[in-house]
Every structure is written in structure tokens, then in C-alpha cells.
């Protein structure tokens, strides 16, 4: 877009030129000033940390000692000797692996809501309501839902005769991780649904009309039109699902704090514990790099799966 002031009133060409120059400089200064605060924030809290993190991960460093070069020692320790790292990596992958199911569920709900159904807006709001809530409180609510005596889940299971003894969901090695994942899905489901709804509404209606005239059945329309057209939205959902393995720190911290043992340890909780619990900042930095690589790799794969059009994040 060219600057708006092109149509300057009157003046000779020369004067116009000088005026134009001054105007241009002023505008550049303005742009710089206007961008500065945001750039400072992003530089200090996005760009610089990324670089520093990389540096920290190849150093021996603690708040009181001067830094020493460590090479790949931290990575070696992490990959070869640290069982907790592997366990939290596995847990993180399981956590992310649950996202497709949640997205499929959200797709189903979105398809139901996206119609001329009366009260569709109400259903949409209800499903979405859990998303903007404080995750710490959500964790507390779900702890209570899973409780052995006071929790409604065990109550329902026992009343319906499915189990004889209450299941200590968050204290058992097998159940803890799935339980946390269910709570996470409960919170994020509405967000997936909203993304998919936005995608559904951008599908041109005439595609369906044409297909109907051709006599294509509903399920064929779904596979041939809806799903392919939804690819960018589904990609975005996948990215959100991948990012959620980072942002679910709050939920895990409150519900299980990584326990029992390390059964629900995610990389992000392990990073927190290593960094701020044991003040091994350098090692935690190496863990962060590992998780960041995981994030990039998975996002890349999701992008490939979505047809490689880089989804809509870069489409602006």
C-alpha cells in the first residue's frame, strides 16, 4: 500500500518533491516509534530467550558460577542417561497424540452445531465456555471430579455397577495420564470447535448444491468437499494441540504435579522442575531445546499432512 498522502494539494513539482521527502522521513520515524514498544517486548521475551536458551544449553552455568563451555554434554546426559527425559517425552507425545481424537470430536460437534438448528448458538457457547477459564481452577475442578469419595465420576461408575471399588484416578500409574488428558480435552474442545466452525462457514455453499444435483450422498459430500476444504482449519487445530502440550503446564502442575512417580510428567513440567526446582538452568535449557525441536518437527509434519500450504498462519 502506498502512503495515503499521494494526492498532496497543489505546489510545483520541486516543492512537492521536498515536501514528499520530509513527509516520508517523518512517516518512517513514526513507524519506527510505533513499532518500538512491541518490538522491545517481543525481542526481550521471544527472540532473545530463544538464542540465550540455545547458548545456555551448551554451557555449564548456574546463577553463582561463571559460564563454562559444555559442548553437547547436557544433550548427551539427556539422551543417554536421563530416564525421566524419555518418560516425559513419551508422555508429551501421548498428550499430543490425543489431540486428533479431540479434534475429531470437535469436528463432530461443529458439524452438528453448524446448521439451521434452533439454539445452535447456545450449544456453541456452552461447549466453548470452558476454554477461556483459568486453567488452575479447571485443574482443581477436575481433581475434585476424579476424587475417590467426593468425585462424581467414581460415584457414577460405582452407582452404575461398572466398578466395585473406586478408582484413584490421579494416584494410579495407569489412569493418571489419561485422566489429565480428558480434563485438557474438556477445556480445549470448544476452541477446536470454533476454529472448525470458522472453516465450515468459509466453504462455498454452491459446492454442496452442485454435489447434490450430481446425486452425491451426504457422506460422500463430507469426504469429498467438507474435509478437504477444512484442511487449513484442521491444521490450525493440530498446531493448537501441539502447542497445548506446552501450555498444559498449569493443569498438570495442579492435578498431579507430574506424579505419581513421573507418570504424568510432561517436558514442560520437567523443564520447570529442573530449572526452578533444582536450579539446573543449563540442563533445563537443553530440555527446552529438545521440546522446541519436537514442536517444530510436529508442526512441519502437520503442515505436510494438511497439504503443505502452510495452513493459514502464514497466509496473511
Amino acid at each position: 500500500m502506498m502512503p495515503a498522502a499521494g494526492g498532496a494539494p497543489g505546489g510545483s513539482a520541486e516543492r512537492h518533491n521536498g515536501w514528499w521527502q520530509r513527509k516520508r522521513t517523518r512517516e518512517l520515524a513514526l513507524v519506527a516509534c510505533f513499532l518500538l514498544p512491541s518490538l522491545v517486548v517481543f525481542f526481550l521475551y521471544r527472540v532473545l530467550p530463544l538464542g540465550w536458551n540455545l547458548l545456555l544449553s551448551v554451557q555449564y552455568w548456574s546463577p553463582l558460577k561463571p559460564a563454562r563451555w559444555a559442548g553437547l554434554d547436557h544433550y548427551e546426559e539427556m539422551l543417554l542417561y536421563d530416564d525421566v527425559f524419555w518418560q516425559s517425552l513419551t508422555n508429551t507425545l501421548i498428550f499430543i497424540g490425543a489431540a486428533p481424537f479431540a479434534i475429531a470430536l470437535a469436528l463432530g460437534i461443529a458439524l452438528l452445531v453448524n446448521s439451521d438448528l434452533k439454539g445452535a448458538a447456545v450449544y456453541r457457547s456452552i461447549v466453548f465456555l470452558s476454554y477461556p477459564l483459568m486453567t488452575v481452577a479447571v485443574g482443581i475442578i477436575w481433581r475434585w471430579m476424579y476424587d475417590e469419595r467426593g468425585g462424581i465420576i467414581n460415584f457414577a461408575l460405582r452407582e452404575s455397577g461398572l466398578v466395585a471399588k473406586p478408582i484413584p484416578f490421579l494416584q494410579s500409574f495407569e489412569w493418571a495420564l489419561p485422566s489429565v488428558i480428558v480434563a485438557e480435552v474438556w477445556q480445549v474442545l470448544g476452541f477446536y470447535m470454533i476454529i472448525i466452525l470458522t472453516g465450515l462457514q468459509s466453504i462455498p455453499q454452491h459446492l454442496y448444491e452442485a454435489a447434490s444435483i450430481d446425486g452425491a450422498p451426504r457422506w460422500a459430500q463430507f469426504w469429498r468437499i467438507t474435509l478437504p476444504m477444512l484442511k487449513p482449519s484442521l491444521f490450525l487445530c493440530a498446531v493448537v494441540g501441539i502447542l497445548n502440550s506446552f501450555t498444559s503446564f498449569d493443569l498438570v502442575y495442579i492435578m498431579t504435579n507430574g506424579g505419581p512417580g513421573h507418570a504424568t510428567e510432561l517436558l514442560i513440567t520437567y523443564i520447570y522442575k529442573s530449572g526452578f526446582g533444582q536450579t539446573k538452568f543449563d540442563y533445563a535449557a537443553a530440555l527446552t531445546v529438545a521440546q522446541f525441536i519436537l514442536l517444530l518437527a510436529l508442526t512441519y509434519l502437520a503442515n505436510r499432512a494438511a497439504g503443505g500450504n502452510a495452513g493459514s498462519l502464514e497466509r496473511r
Binding site: M1, P3, A4, L30, V31, A32, F34, L35, P37, S38, V41, F42, Y45, R46, L48, L50, W52, N53, L56, L112, L117, Y123, I126, V127, F128, L129, S130, P132, M134, T135, V136, A137, I140, R143, W144, R149, F155, E159, W186, I195, T198, S233, V239, T247, F249, D250, Y253, I254, I268, Y272, G275, F276, F281, A284, A285, T288, F292, T299, L313, R316
Partner: protein, 270 residues
């Protein structure tokens, strides 16, 4: 046939809604119950409900202090988001050398989750001397990329002729922004307010890392601390949870449309 289809859809959606709302009901029920909350079987309806658990929360823990801290941080974040994002959004509507680079930088920053930077971010904040301070709590959220794009889109939607007319009337650049662009971007402002509020209100990991003193803790930290004291033995914990959830639910119901538009502006081209 069609009738039955509609009925089935409603039935499914009512079921889904019930499952989604069940946790809310369960926490509300527990928050207004005085009975031994560990009694089995738990009652489905609260027995002699009352609101005194909320009074307990207000006085047992420094709830007013946490509330004040949360409100200060949220106000800081909301105010600076409106100002900084509007400025950056306006700058991005201009053309200048390096604009592509800046856009690319913003877009790639969007993919860096804040949680992935906590260790250096903590060290940077400590170098700046902002540990345990309101500014430190708010700093990472002072400007957010999604919201910058929301403003950019809103400013670009303002008809150019209107801006030109204002300029010909002799309004300065500042006045054009304040008198013409901002009033026409109310929806973008609302989106910024809502998103910034929700993000700062709910933030947990960052305050957990950088506050060391209880007097600087925000509500999520207070809630986590209360949990570690009480180990879900009292209805007051759930009353606390309800009290911190209420403002977000209120804001969400007030501005659902703006909220959703802000969040999905990454999904649709802005």
C-alpha cells in the same frame, strides 16, 4: 424423517452440553455445601446450601491482596495492549522498508510458545530487576501479536477516503488516529481488552516463576497455594475456584463475539 434427524441432533447436543457443564455444576454444588464433602455417597443436590464458604475465602487467605495484584497486572496488560498494539497495528498499515521482515518476525514469534522461553525470560527479568514486581509480571504480555493483527485489519478496513478527508481538514497524524481510526475500531479494541484480560488473569506459570513473596502473588498462585494448604478438604477451595472463574465467565459472556473473533483471526486471513 427430517423431524427425527433434528430431534437426534438436539438430543446429542444436549448430551454434549450436559457433559461440558457437569464440572461447573459439581464445583458450584461443592462450593455452597457445608456437609462433610468426603461423605460417600456424595449428594447430587447440595444440602442446606449457603454462601459462607465465599466469606471464608475472603478472610482466611489474603484474597483481597491477590485480587488487587491480579487486577493491577490485568489493568497494566489491558492498557498497554490497547496502546502498543494499536500503535504497531497502525505502523503495519504503512509501507516502509523492512516491513516484510517485521511481518515475518511477528509471524514466527507467534509460533514460539511463551512457555518455551521461561528460563532465559526469567534470567532477563532478573537482570532488569523486575522480579517480584507488577511490571515484571505484566511484561511478557504487554503486547501480543494476534492483537496487533486484529488492529491492523481494523485500521485497513477504515475507508481511505475518510482518512484523507480528515488530513485535508488539517488534522495531525495523532488526531487522525485518535479521532478517526480508533473510534471506528471499537470492535478491535474490545477484542484486545477481552483477550488481554483473559490471558493476564489466567496466567500461572510466569507469576509462579517470578514472584517470590506472597504479597506479590496473583489469584492463580493464591489458588494453588490454598490447594497445597487444604488439599481439597473444604468447600472453601471450590468457592475460591468459583470466585476466580466468575470474572472470566462474565467477560466471556459480555464479549463472546469479540473474543471468538480475536482467537480465530489466526484462522481466517486478517
Amino acid at each position: 424423517m427430517r423431524q427425527r434427524g433434528t430431534f437426534l441432533r438436539h438430543a446429542t447436543l444436549v448430551g454434549v452440553s450436559a457433559i461440558m457443564l457437569l464440572p461447573f455444576y459439581w464445583v458450584l454444588k461443592t462450593a455452597v455445601t457445608n456437609e462433610n464433602i468426603y461423605a460417600y455417597p456424595p449428594r447430587l443436590l447440595p444440602e442446606s446450601p449457603h454462601l459462607f464458604n465465599f466469606v471464608d475465602v475472603w478472610y482466611f487467605i489474603p484474597f483481597p491482596r491477590y485480587l488487587l495484584n491480579s487486577l493491577i497486572v490485568s489493568a497494566l496488560v489491558v492498557a498497554s495492549n490497547i496502546v502498543f498494539n494499536a500503535m504497531a497495528g497502525y505502523a503495519l498499515t504503512k509501507s516502509f522498508a523492512g516491513k516484510r521482515a517485521i511481518l515475518l518476525l511477528f509471524l514466527s514469534c507467534m509460533l514460539i510458545p511463551f512457555q518455551a522461553t521461561i528460563i532465559p525470560a526469567y534470567l532477563i527479568t532478573s537482570k532488569l530487576g523486575l522480579l517480584n514486581s507488577y511490571l515484571g509480571l505484566a511484561f511478557p504480555l504487554l503486547s501480543t501479536i494476534v492483537c496487533i493483527f486484529v488492529f491492523k485489519a481494523a485500521f485497513e478496513a477504515v475507508p481511505q477516503s475518510l482518512v484523507d478527508a480528515a488530513r485535508i481538514d488539517g488534522l495531525s497524524e495523532w488526531r487522525v488516529i485518535l479521532r478517526v481510526l480508533m473510534p471506528l475500531s471499537k470492535a478491535a479494541i474490545a477484542t484486545n481488552v477481552v483477550l488481554a484480560f483473559i490471558w493476564s488473569w489466567n496466567a500461572f506459570l510466569w507469576p509462579l516463576i517470578i514472584t517470590r513473596e506472597p504479597t506479590m502473588q496473583t489469584l492463580p498462585l493464591g489458588l494453588a497455594r490454598f490447594l497445597s494448604y487444604m488439599e481439597d478438604t473444604t468447600g472453601a477451595l471450590y468457592a475460591f475456584a468459583v470466585m476466580v472463574l466468575a470474572p472470566s465467565i462474565f467477560v466471556f459472556l459480555m464479549a463472546q463475539k469479540e473474543f471468538i473473533r480475536g482467537l480465530t483471526s489466526g484462522a481466517t486471513k486478517g
